[in-house]
Amino acid sequence: MRLVVDLNRCQGYAQCAFLAPDVFAMHGDEGLLYDPEAEEAQRERVAQAAAACPVQAILVDDLDRAGDHSARTPAAAASGTARGSSDG
């Protein structure tokens, strides 16, 4: 499964590294490294990490179809990753 982290948004809270340590790891005190193509077996953990990220910085393949809780309306998705938009 493919994923990408918006590192402008990421605040280094390390929630993801805690929930899916095989995919996300802290690099230094604040930086985050992640595997952009994680094993399919990690899907559940990655989905948990994406849901737990306090700034919603983790984007994953097809999460919508896998039952993403944050039902993405077009408007929410369109502004969801844009910094400086109304959700800041």
Binding site: L33, S79, A82
Partner: protein, 464 residues
């Protein structure tokens, strides 16, 4: 009143996106999310589906991810016709067609151009073709360089200490490789962040064992009899033995294919209005051609309406979303792309982030943390207002300063902060080099004059 033409476009129009990477893919996704039901064609000269570039100089060089494992996630099925591995070679604005390298012509009702930039090659072509000489922009570049580093070269030479060059040097050190960095300017990152921060970055390089040489130019590369690079000649007369060379001299915009089309496209990018609509050569805005990502240059209200070109991941995403929205909207529903520039980098274990346009700043002030510990927030000032900020392992402050920039807050900041150190009590010159000296790495280019300058400009988008 409903715009019937727009309605028809949404139901059965033809949208073509040229440039199948971050901005192109994100725009296509947003179009479908907004209910565009017509035909969508994505043209890309690379053979791959859209992939993410930032990991190429980070995870990939550290051996933590494969270069061919950075495909961008698909948040939904965009049901597009993909034309991969074929370049667009021309644009006929009157006939509304894009010409492809295979001779085909693809008609469009709306066109989005997201052709990005490419790595600036080593100026001497024969030297640039030596085995072991790399640039880093594409997946193939990343795979090749990662292989070369894994083979354990004796010394790597990185030419140019912008963000990418610095990240490459950092990865080399993390892998235990000997690395020399040659930089024409006074220090790493000076073009993007100025000399004060450049000095901090130089300490980072040296403490991590990089042989950093500043104020120096590489004058030539030398190969052995098998065509492998073996040495570099430097402007101080010395010769450096090296078996891998990474040319990291910044980027060139992919606009040549538009030559003669009548679009306002050139080496500085494609000019567009705040709503991402491209200008033609006469400075008249088009209504059917949009631009997004690294190739775009657009005026920004927060920065004196100067034209900004940003080589920033977040800008490509945000501008693509705005362009896609505007392409399918009534004129009254269109929105401007007023993204506050934001950027991150990771080198030598330090997380570097910036917001705003630091390179517009004339002064800098350390407002949080300590320069000596290299954990700080520094704020840039321009004509008495906050114009940018940079953090070293202090990213949580950035949002606060982003708001300050948006609000044109005064500089120096009048408030005192909790952990301000003695060295941050007053502003000092930010020490940017002469802007006519080219800089390296993903950064921000200001092009065009601010109306506040009261100069006679050849082209201003004013008066609409």
């Amino acid at each position: 009143m409903v715009d019937t033409a727009l309605d028809q476009l949404r139901r059965s129009g033809r949208i073509v996106v040229v440039g199948a990477s971050l901005a192109g893919l994100r725009a296509a996704e947003v179009m479908r999310q907004k209910g565009f039901a017509g035909s969508l064609t994505l043209v890309g000269d690379e053979r791959h589906e859209p992939y993410d570039r930032p990991p190429l100089s980070k995870q990939v060089l550290l051996g933590k991810a494969d270069a061919d494992h950075t495909l961008l996630p698909r948040r939904l099925d965009i049901d597009a016709e993909w034309r991969l591995g074929v370049a667009a070679t021309g644009l006929d604005m009157a006939a509304r067609t894009v010409k492809l390298a295979d001779g085909e012509e693809v008609p469009y009702d709306r066109l989005l151009i997201a052709t990005g930039v490419r790595a600036r090659p080593w100026p001497n072509e024969a030297e640039g073709e030596l085995d072991g000489v790399f640039t880093l922009r594409t997946r193939e570049d990343g795979a090749g360089l990662a292989r070369a580093l894994a083979a354990g070269p004796r010394r790597v030479l990185v030419i140019g200490a912008g963000f990418t060059g610095s990240e490459i040097a950092s990865a080399c050190r993390e892998r235990g490789l000997d690395v020399t960095v040659a930089e024409r300017g006074d220090g790493p990152l000076v073009g993007a962040l100025g000399g004060v921060i450049g000095a901090v970055a130089a300490e980072l390089h040296r403490e991590n064992g990089v042989d950093l040489r500043t104020g120096i130019m590489v004058t030539g590369l030398e190969g052995d009899s098998t065509g492998r690079v073996r040495a570099a000649h430097l402007s101080d007369g010395t010769t450096l033995e090296c078996d891998v060379v990474v040319v990291s001299l910044g980027a060139q915009r992919n606009t040549e294919w538009l030559t003669g089309s009548g679009l306002g496209a050139g080496p500085r990018g494609i000019a567009c209005d705040a709503g991402c609509r491209a200008f033609d050569l006469r400075g008249i805005v088009t209504d059917d051609i949009y631009v997004a990502g690294d190739v775009a240059r657009s005026p920004h209200a927060l920065f004196g309406y100067q034209f900004l070109s940003l080589e920033h991941w977040g800008n490509a995403v945000a501008q693509a979303e705005t362009a896609a929205h505007n392409m399918l909207s009534e004129s009254t529903d269109r929105r401007p792309h007023l993204w506050v520039p934001a950027f991150w980098s990771s080198q030598f274990g330090v997380n570097i982030k910036s917001v705003g346009v630091p390179s517009m700043g004339s002064e800098i002030m350390f407002t949080q943390g300590s320069r000596a510990e290299r954990r700080f927030t520094a704020v840039y000032g321009y004509q008495g207002r906050v114009i940018g900020a940079v953090t070293f392992d202090n990213g949580r402050w950035l949002q606060f300063y982003e708001k300050q920039i948006e609000a044109c807050a005064p500089f120096p900041p009048p408030f005192t902060t909790v952990d301000r150190r003695p060295d941050g009590q007053r502003p000092i010159p930010a020490d940017f080099p002469d802007p006519s000296v080219p800089t390296h790495g993903p950064t921000i280019t200001l092009s065009g004059y601010s109306p506040a300058d009261r100069r006679i400009a050849t082209f201003t988008p004013a008066g609409h």
